[in-house]
């Protein structure tokens, strides 16, 4: 049954007037309230903290907004926390900006806000400031969320894609493609048997364990392979470090359901989005220890070493008639050793993954 007007978002809710206040106190503060947010000041003032600040922002526009394994609210919390964690930052607080489409069911908004509360509480990262706008029907798709996050980076921590070094082991924290395939099959209305669910998950606790558990400076690079997938992420690391990365197809964890769905839809899980995974590049001497630390966390239970960073020029790919790639593309190359023992290069995602004719 269609919700009654009282149960839907109206333009009035974004007017800044009484309806806005009711939404803020009746919904947002009810679930997200804390000392800083509930003061309803124009900006949040945080206590002085030691260390360098990490600052990031991300917008979330997923369709459908609810899906197995999470919803747009969990993504908005986990995604921004993960972006902070990928620089070795300890997340401190988040902002929450909502753009709501007129007519959105209040019950759906409440469900999203409860998800945001649950994710924020379990991560220990409060929402400290926020904003809401409402746009007319058709000017947005139900709900768009922006979260920005501030984190603190300890003085001895230097994590960056440019710090990848020859010899580093490449660890993937778990199976790839879960989020991307879940969204694509839901969007297309394709019902596949098997438990396809998003991997939406925060990684900052595992990252802090790595930072405290590993020898100083042995963790070089962290990156979360969201849109564009593991393939594009590896290409970015290769590009910014100027090194070659070699990964082994057989070592990359992919859940059987995800593989099967990809086979049916003609998709490559290397290019599908993840929302709770990271790639970690670790000095070879510390790789086994890093793997053990990750596997001891629920978010890294299926972590695996998937490859190695190697220096030097890429060899010509056999079977390409001896044509050597030009120098311009030799650096920053990602090579995949395939299951059957062949090799091929991995290139970044071009355009959105689309269903194919055959």
């Amino acid at each position: 049954m269609a919700p009654t007007t009282a149960e839907t978002i109206l333009l009035d809710h974004g007017s800044g007037g009484l309806a806005s206040q009711q939404l803020i106190s009746g919904l947002f503060l009810k679930y997200l309230g804390n000392k800083v947010l509930s003061a309803l000041e124009d900006s949040a003032v945080m206590d002085n903290q030691p260390g360098r600040l990490a600052f990031t922002t991300d917008s979330y526009v997923v369709d459908p907004i609810f899906f197995p394994g999470g919803d747009i609210g969990t993504l908005a919390v986990h995604g921004t926390i993960n972006d902070l964690a990928m620089r070795g930052a300890r997340p401190l607080c988040l902002s929450l900006g909502l753009i709501l489409e007129e007519g959105l069911a209040l019950s759906d908004l409440e469900r999203v806000i409860i998800s945001i509360r649950d994710a924020s509480e379990s991560c220990g990262v409060p929402i400290v400031t926020g904003d809401t706008k409402v746009v007319p029907v058709g000017k947005a798709d139900k709900i768009f969320i922006n979260t920005s996050g501030i984190g603190l980076v300890a003085d001895n921590v230097e994590i960056s894609t440019s710090r990848a070094q020859a010899g580093d082991k490449i660890i993937l924290s778990g199976s790839m493609g879960d989020h991307g395939i879940t969204i694509m099959t839901r969007r297309a209305g394709i019902a596949l048997s098997g438990d396809l669910r998003s991997d939406s998950m925060a990684l900052h606790t595992m990252v802090q364990l790595l930072l405290t558990g590993l020898p100083p400076a042995s963790l070089h690079t962290l990156r979360d392979p969201t849109r564009g997938g593991v393939a594009t992420c590896l290409c970015e690391i290769a590009g910014s470090s100027g090194l070659m990365l070699e990964i082994e197809e057989d070592c990359i964890p992919v859940r059987a359901e995800v593989r099967a769905a990809c086979e049916i839809l003609g998709l490559d899980p290397l290019y599908l989005a993840n929302e709770g995974k990271c790639l970690a590049l670790v000095a070879p001497d510390s790789a086994d220890q890093a793997l053990a630390l990750m596997q001891a966390c629920p978010e890294g239970a299926e972590a695996a070493i998937i490859g190695t960073v190697i220096a030097g020029a890429a060899p010509a790919i056999p079977g390409s008639h001896g044509i050597r790639p030009s120098l311009a593309v030799t650096a920053g190359r990602v090579i995949l050793k395939t299951t059957i023992g062949g090799t091929r290069v991995i290139t970044p995602l071009h355009g959105a993954p689309l269903p194919r004719i055959c």
Binding site: E263, S326, A328, I340, G341, V345, G351, L354, C358
Partner: protein, 371 residues
């Protein structure tokens, strides 16, 4: 994963490669007809493992790649019509027409274009939007056509009269014969498309084997399927035989699927068809029969398909004919990439150029692989 992992087994692959090397007694040139073969060979890394005496060239079997620019222009025309929805296969979405405009551009300008997984999704869209016309641009070979025919039959049974197909459907054998008539092609064997063959049957290649003295082997799409087919081919070539053999017996029979062919024949009649890069080939297409004209966008909308030119500098035609390999095209990897494709072979993930670009790491090279 059952039925997949067995066919990607590294030990079996190594064994088959050994056997292939032993069976290869002279250099030979194979055309893999189907785009899915092209991609499978690159993606599995098989290309890097094959004996150097075997040269693989990609044929005209990527349905998106052979869709002429004028047909894309017609799709764009339809997308601009009022109260009209286009339901398209995803890989058609980024194919440029003759002015470089794509359906993706048209959608960004407000045209109603939905990416669908099958024609049935288009029919469903028509059912949900009775006040609008839903047009499905029909592309593809014998593998795709039965599904389109079944959808048109379903539309008639369900009295859905706002659903139409613009047929650019093609058949596989006429262009192969047109290519083989050119002695410059110089191929010794055909890796015959597995999915098309499941419909037309392995027997369909008998005339090719006989007339053109070709080793024709039907192949599946997993690495060991392809290796097994190449072994059969290498043996034929070594022994001077030119026969049709079937290395994909789990999907393909000698006779093929007569029921699917009958369904296609109910809806479609042979017609001349224009191919990207190959031009007009007599009897190589399928037009919707008069009895089903109500579902034929081309006749119902009285659309005139505009004459069009190939994009300047684009060598997709030469590539589709197997005359050059993609790195020999001056646009390859520079102006023409999967992000901004100029020619159709770069658009579809199964296109020859896209496969070379994505999996071989090649950029433009002066080395043309010519005869």
């Amino acid at each position: 994963m059952k039925y997949v992992d067995e066919f990607r087994d590294p030990e079996l692959t190594a064994h088959l490669l050994h056997e292939l090397t032993a069976a290869t007694t002279r250099p030979f040139r194979v055309m893999e007809v189907c785009g899915t073969h092209t991609m499978a060979i690159f993606r599995s890394g098989l290309r890097a493992l094959l004996p150097s005496q075997i040269e693989l060239i990609s044929g005209p079997g990527c349905p998106v790649c052979v869709t002429s620019a004028s047909h894309i222009d017609a799709f764009l025309q339809m997308a601009e019509l009022p109260d009209t929805h286009l339901a398209v296969f995803g890989d058609l979405f980024r194919v440029p027409g003759s002015n470089g405009v794509t359906l993706a551009h048209a959608r960004a300008r407000g045209a109603k274009i939905e990416v669908v997984y099958s024609a049935v999704d288009g029919l469903e869209l028509a059912r949900q939007n009775p006040a609008e016309l839903v047009i499905f641009p029909g592309i593809g070979f014998e593998t795709t056509t039965p599904g389109i025919a079944a959808t048109i039959l379903a539309a008639r049974q369900q009295n859905i009269d706002n659903f139409m197909v613009f047929s650019t459907h093609k058949t596989m054998l006429p262009p192969l014969m047109a290519l083989l008539d050119d002695p410059a092609l110089g191929i010794d064997g055909l890796l015959c498309p597995g999915h098309v063959s499941s419909i037309i049957g392995a027997a369909a290649y008998q005339p090719l084997a006989e007339q053109y003295d070709l080793a024709c082997v039907v192949a599946g799409f997993e690495p060991t399927d392809i290796l097994q087919a190449l072994i059969l081919m290498a043996r034929q070539i070594s022994e001077g035989r030119a026969e049709v053999e079937n290395a994909y017996t789990r999907a393909v029979t000698w006779e093929g699927n007569a029921r699917a062919r009958a369904m296609v024949a109910t809806i479609f009649a042979p017609a001349d068809m224009s191919w990207r890069g190959l031009g007009l080939i007599a009897g190589s297409g399928l037009a919707i029969r008069e009895e089903y004209a109500g579902f034929d966008a081309q006749s119902r909308l009285a659309l005139t398909v505009p004459e069009s030119k190939e994009p300047p500098g684009c060598l997709c035609g030469e590539i589709l004919k197997g005359i050059i390999a993609p790195p020999a095209c001056p646009l390859f990897g520079s102006r023409c990439t999967p992000s901004s494709p100029i020619g159709p072979c770069m658009v579809s993930s199964e296109g020859t150029c896209s496969a070379w670009f994505s999996y071989s790491g090649e950029t433009r090279s002066a080395t043309a692989i010519t005869n």
